[in-house]
């Protein structure tokens, strides 16, 4: 009880006041790259737009503004969305694991969910819906690798049936609403057969062989209304009656001037009964032929040619059927609507859209057709581009909104200080040039007087405008406008790179995108790994800040892509491709221009510098690399002639594979090298900067035999400093490694819970070498203290706070699976936490050991916001020692600042300045009066 009270007391200071919400934190929500898009099915312009993304998010967007109305995120175990469909009842979705759900359109609340196909471990590939009357409910038809599953969607009792089909054949499934039938076409290597299944009872079906001796795939055929089927074989179109299996008519395509058919396009995707007797044939050279099937066989109604043909889609609304043809000549996208029956082009409703090189190629086009009062037809385009953006375009060429959905998949973050204001820059510039002392002194005085002058001018201006005491930004601590540095350096530029290769500069104050750059030259079919290297910070005016971004293809030896840019302005420079790179390192020492060079280790074990010229400090450096190759950890040393040689190596046991690996931040600051104990002695920390923590998991993942192996080794000498094994444990593993401690989380397979182990390394009571550190001069392995804890909720990511001088206690940040950012002071993970608390422990500030880590709600850094699917926690110090800036990425991005040991260096916003000044003045006056009085008294005394 006492402990509880103590902990509550300890933590209460971290909470957030109601009026502080949103002052310095912001959150942006995203959906991710859209896999499926569905407009609300209505005749007029609809408000809702539904998007299902590859990140398993389902969102309803306002189609006029692009804002998210509601969003739902499914777990990973659900598989991907195979489709979404808007019906009268709501939004119907099916995931590949076979869960069908119906969502309320306006609010996103779940109406019901049911499993399609009772057989386990099936993968659903597509679904359709047959509309039926209310009593029997609509019929959901889903296909899987196992067969066809149907489900009557009665809201209270979804009832399913399964028809198992041969897996080996090439299948195509269509539905016929009027007949209530499911038509399964199976293309075997030598024949094409159709199975017509009664939707109400899958046991009742009949099979017809449509074409014997035909070897084409199901992509080359189309089913039309009234059981007619058209298939393509050897330059001819055949019309077949499905019920009889007899060929009714034939059309030789070369006779009508059609060669090289590209595809056959049905009027409606899966629904047969509304297709009528029409279809479109697209053949080479952008030719589109509209065909009609009648009693007289197959005949051509109209044909048109479109150069640079990109996409052809049919849309049907009440009685109108239109064909939308999109052409794309690389610089302009043009979509026109053609009345299907007449072939007339409606010139008024054409959409032209200028393509920007900076968006990448257009991936997909989604068309929303609606009816207007004045003109018969209106339509909108939703473009999904290679950069992950979603853009809504309306007639004639207006971009209504654009969502940068690639920000849902941020893979790299760097936070950059903003440059000083104009006057400050001049001052800094004076310092950067190398002149004689007197000259520099004069310059400094000049610059500072200029600074003073501009400050006075600014203040006068503000007094004139009456804004002197007004808040300039919503953040009470940042009172400098624009992209200039504030005195506490709380305002930063957040540079992020996303999985699709787009770099964004984000203003940390508002979360607005300041600049955006699309990296050209990345093969986007590959997966890339991005790394930022800050070559020069903003502190070296007149040299501009410079950040390098290296993109490496993670699975193929493709050419790496290197770009450098100014993180404040977003000016990019592309660099020519180098040889494939195995490892990259930024040199610790800058050159004369304050630029830190990059060192590349190529696949052929050669080394190059970037930029190539360097001031010659290379030879004085001793550099070491390590690499993990096929279960071996191999160390390298760089020779003085910039070649490398292998030094040490050790073997990870073949029963294990590396799960996670983390070294220390090279530029990390450590405030104190020791820790005082209750007996007034000091225990020294083992502060080896070359230490690497590696966790390997057993290949055998059975519940009883799964285990984890932790290896802590020195990356220079290859010496294993500490190892341990966790029995009955498995990944995912998250590691935080800083100063002399390592905290990692893992899954306990037996107890089915997340656990954390904290390890601290100490040199002992004496310090080995006070001035310089060398891995080669360490003799004894460090003392290891460890303790394990139960973490009561799932962890998706772990991080640690960084402050300017590292004096402030660290805070361990957890991205929780439940969608929150949670921060705990590090002393909860102090391995010396005693089971029985004594006076000496209290003196050291230790808290009593409890196996379970508490999760008090006031320690949620994200307070009541949900920050979903957190996969990265990045922290950066501010100039204010107490404060650390935290940027969290996931499907949402969230920025805030934390004070792990309270804000001890800034007065609270509600601090009573008036009161303290009154008291001060009062005291001063009182002192004066008292002095005067005592003088008079003294005088009187003397006279007496």
């Amino acid at each position: 009880m006492k402990v509880l009270v103590y902990i509550l007391f300890l933590c209460s200071v971290h909470g957030l006041h109601d009026d502080e919400i949103g002052k310095y934190d912001w959150k942006k929500e995203f959906v991710g790259n859209a896999d499926h898009v569905e407009f609300e099915s209505s005749v007029s312009v609809s408000k809702y737009l539904f998007v299902a993304s590859r990140l398993n998010a389902l969102a309803c967007l306002n189609s006029r503004t692009g804002e998210i109305i509601w969003r739902k995120i499914l777990g990973e175990a659900e598989g991907k969305f195979v489709g979404i469909k808007h019906t009268k009842e709501g939004l119907l979705t099916v995931t590949s694991s076979g869960v069908a759900r119906l969502w309320e359109t306006n609010s996103g609340s779940l109406k019901w969910e049911a499993v399609v196909g009772a057989t386990p471990n099936i993968t659903i590939t597509s679904f359709m819906m047959i509309e039926r009357n209310y009593n029997v409910g609509n019929l959901l038809v889903a296909t899987s690798d196992n067969g066809v599953h149907t489900m009557a969607m009665l809201s209270n009792n979804p009832r399913g049936e399964t028809l198992t089909l041969d897996v080996a054949t090439d299948k195509k499934i269509s539905i016929d609403t009027t007949m209530g039938n499911i038509i399964v076409l199976e293309a075997e290597p030598t024949k094409l057969s159709a199975t017509i299944v009664d939707g109400g009872n899958v046991e009742s079906y009949r099979e017809v062989v449509v074409a014997d001796g035909w070897g084409g795939g199901v992509a080359q055929l189309i089913i039309l209304e009234t059981n007619q089927l058209v298939y393509l074989d050897d330059g001819s179109l055949y019309l077949v009656d499905l019920t009889l299996g007899a060929t009714k008519a034939t059309l030789r395509l070369d006779e009508v001037g059609i060669n090289e058919v590209e595809k056959l396009i049905p009027i409606n995707d899966d629904e047969v009964s509304t297709r009528g007797g029409w279809f479109v044939l697209q053949h080479e050279g952008g030719n589109v032929v509209f065909m009609e099937v009648g009693d007289a066989g197959i005949k051509i109604t109209w044909r048109k040619t479109f150069p640079n043909l990109f996409d052809v889609q049919f849309k049907r609304l009440s009685s109108e059927t239109f064909l939308f043809v999109t052409t794309n000549n690389g610089s302009e996208l043009k979509t026109i609507a053609i009345d299907a029956k007449t072939g007339l082009i409606d010139e008024t409703s054409m959409i032209r859209f200028n393509l920007n090189n900076d968006d990448g190629k257009v991936d997909k086009i989604f068309i929303n057709m609606f009816l207007k009062r004045s003109t018969p037809l209106g339509f909108r385009l939703l473009l999904q581009c290679e950069d992950g953006s979603l853009t809504l375009v309306v007639n004639p060429n207006r971009e209504v909104w654009r969502r940068q959905e690639s920000l849902a998949e941020v893979v790299g973050v760097v936070m950059i200080d903003l440059p000083l204001s104009g006057a400050g820059l001049e001052f800094e510039g004076g310092g950067a040039e190398r002149n004689v002392v007197a000259d520099m002194f004069v310059k400094r005085i000049k610059a500072q007087s200029q600074q003073l002058l501009s400050w006075v001018q600014q203040t006068l201006k503000e007094i004139e405008a009456g804004t002197l005491f007004k808040h300039k930004t919503r953040d009470p601590l940042i009172q400098v406008e624009g992209l200039t540095r504030d005195p506490f350096s709380l305002h930063k530029m957040i540079v992020v790179v996303t999985r699709s290769g787009v770099v964004f500069g984000i203003d940390s104050l508002t979360g607005d995108i300041v600049w955006r750059h699309f990296i050209v030259g990345l093969d986007r079919s590959l997966t890339w790994k991005y790394d930022f290297y800050v070559q020069r910070t903003t502190a070296h005016f007149p040299h501009p800040p410079l950040v390098a971004l290296l993109a490496l293809a993670s699975n193929q030896p493709a050419q790496p892509v290197l770009v450098t840019f100014n993180p404040i302005t977003g000016d990019f420079n592309e660099h020519s491709a180098t040889k494939p790179i195995k490892q990259t390192m930024i040199l610790p020492t800058p050159d004369v221009d304050h630029l830190r060079h990059l060192l590349f280790l190529h696949q052929d074990d050669s080394l190059t510098l970037f930029p190539p010229t360097h001031g010659g400090s290379m030879t004085s450096l001793k550099l070491f690399f390590y690499d993990v190759i096929d279960g071996w950890v191999v160390g390298y040393a760089v020779n003085s002639d910039i070649t490398i040689k292998q030094t040490w190596k050790f073997k990870i046991p073949s029963t294990h594979h590396v799960i996670s690996m983390l070294g220390k931040n090279m530029l990390e600051k450590v405030d104190s090298v020791g820790r005082p104990l209750a007996d007034r002695s000091v225990i020294f920390k083992y502060l080896n900067p070359n230490l690497v923590a590696m966790v390997a998991g057993s290949v055998d993942d059975a519940v009883d035999r799964a285990n984890l192996l932790l290896i802590v080794f020195d990356g220079v000498t290859g010496k294993v400093v500490y190892t341990n094994t966790h029995k009955k444990a498995s990944g995912p593993v998250h590691i935080v490694h800083s100063e002399n401690w390592i905290i990692y989380s893992y899954w306990n397979t037996k107890a089915r819970r997340t656990e954390l182990t904290s390890i601290e390394l100490y040199e002992g009571k004496s310090q080995h070498n006070k001035t310089t550190f060398s891995s080669f001069h360490l003799q004894a392995n460090p003392m290891v203290m460890q303790q394990s804890y139960i973490f009561p909720t799932g962890i998706s990511c772990m991080g640690v706070s960084h402050t300017d001088k590292a004096i402030t206690a660290r805070q361990i940040l957890f991205g929780l699976k439940r969608g929150a950012l949670f921060g705990l002071p590090r002393r909860f993970f102090d391995p010396r936490r005693p089971l029985v608390l004594e006076e000496s422990h209290r003196e050291e500030g230790l808290i009593q050991y409890m196996p379970e880590i508490p999760i008090p709600p006031e320690l949620f850094v994200s307070y009541n916001l949900s920050v979903e699917m957190i996969n990265g926690i990045y922290s950066s110090p501010a100039a204010l020692e107490s404060t650390s800036l935290v940027f969290v990425t996931g499907i949402d991005i969230f920025f805030t600042r934390i004070q792990p040991s309270k804000m001890f260096d800034v007065l609270k916003e509600d601090f009573d300045h008036m009161f303290i000044s009154l008291v001060l003045i009062g005291m001063f006056v009182a002192a004066l009066v008292a002095r005067r009085m005592s003088q008079i008294k003294q005088l009187k005394k003397s006279w007496r």
Binding site: D605, V628, I644, L710, T723, F776, N781, I790, E852
Partner: protein, 217 residues
């Protein structure tokens, strides 16, 4: 960073020294050949005797003294600020290693080896079932004394990954139980009449005292 299948080992020498077997079953234990290198090739330095697979009480045996050429090579390494390397097979049991990929390698600056008068400490990490994970070598002392010495003086420590701690729920529950008991005992102990009702007695006493004082005045 890892998972890089295409990788060329930097060792120039690919031939192997013809040892019949690096590890031999010697009675109840195993001999593991310890090799060292002053450049590219590895030569035998001695044996590490494992009394059992786990390697408890392992010792270094049969260490071969350095020849004059080898000492010269070592000194050359030291001048170039290069590394002296040692290696052992990854398997305590079984046949001789067939390739470079079957050795774990440890390094130390050659200068330190000379400074420590060839006195070294070897740390071997095994998985406890006959596989060697890593080898580390450090000088026994850091000094600048140099005596002409050509014989190794080595000690070896073999360790295994320790079992990590688990959340101490048992200890915590025990502690809670003990606290509960202590409280129960304290509750059971008879308390004096005054101890029980002091809160009623005290105001009465104070009141009486105050009224007394008032009366006296």
């Amino acid at each position: 960073m890892w998972c890089n299948p295409i990788f060329v080992l930097l060792f120039e020498c690919s031939y192997l020294l013809s040892f019949a077997a690096t590890s031999q079953d010697v009675g109840s234990g195993y001999l593991l050949s310890l090799e060292h290198s002053f450049g590219d090739t590895f030569t035998k330095r001695g044996d590490i005797y494992f009394p059992n697979v786990k390697g408890e009480n392992a010792v270094v045996q049969n260490e071969i003294a350095l020849s004059m050429e080898e000492i010269k090579e070592l000194e050359k390494l030291a001048i170039n600020d290069d590394f002296y390397r040692v290696r052992v097979s990854t398997k305590v049991l079984g046949a001789a290693p067939s390739s470079e990929d079957s050795y774990v390698v440890g390094i130390m600056p050659a200068k330190q080896l000379l400074e420590a008068n060839l006195s070294t400490k070897i740390d071997i990490l095994t998985d406890g079932i006959g596989n060697i994970i890593s080898i580390g070598i450090t000088p026994s002392s850091f000094g600048i004394m140099q005596v002409e010495e050509n014989e190794f003086d080595s000690s070896v420590t073999v360790s295994m990954p320790t079992t990590a701690t688990v959340p101490d729920t048992y200890g915590y529950l025990n502690k809670m139980e003990m606290e509960r008991r202590k409280k129960e005992i304290a509750d059971k102990q008879p308390t004096s009449f005054f101890g029980k009702y002091w809160m009623y007695i005290l105001p009465v006493v104070v009141f009486v005292m105050m009224s007394n004082a008032a009366q006296q005045q």
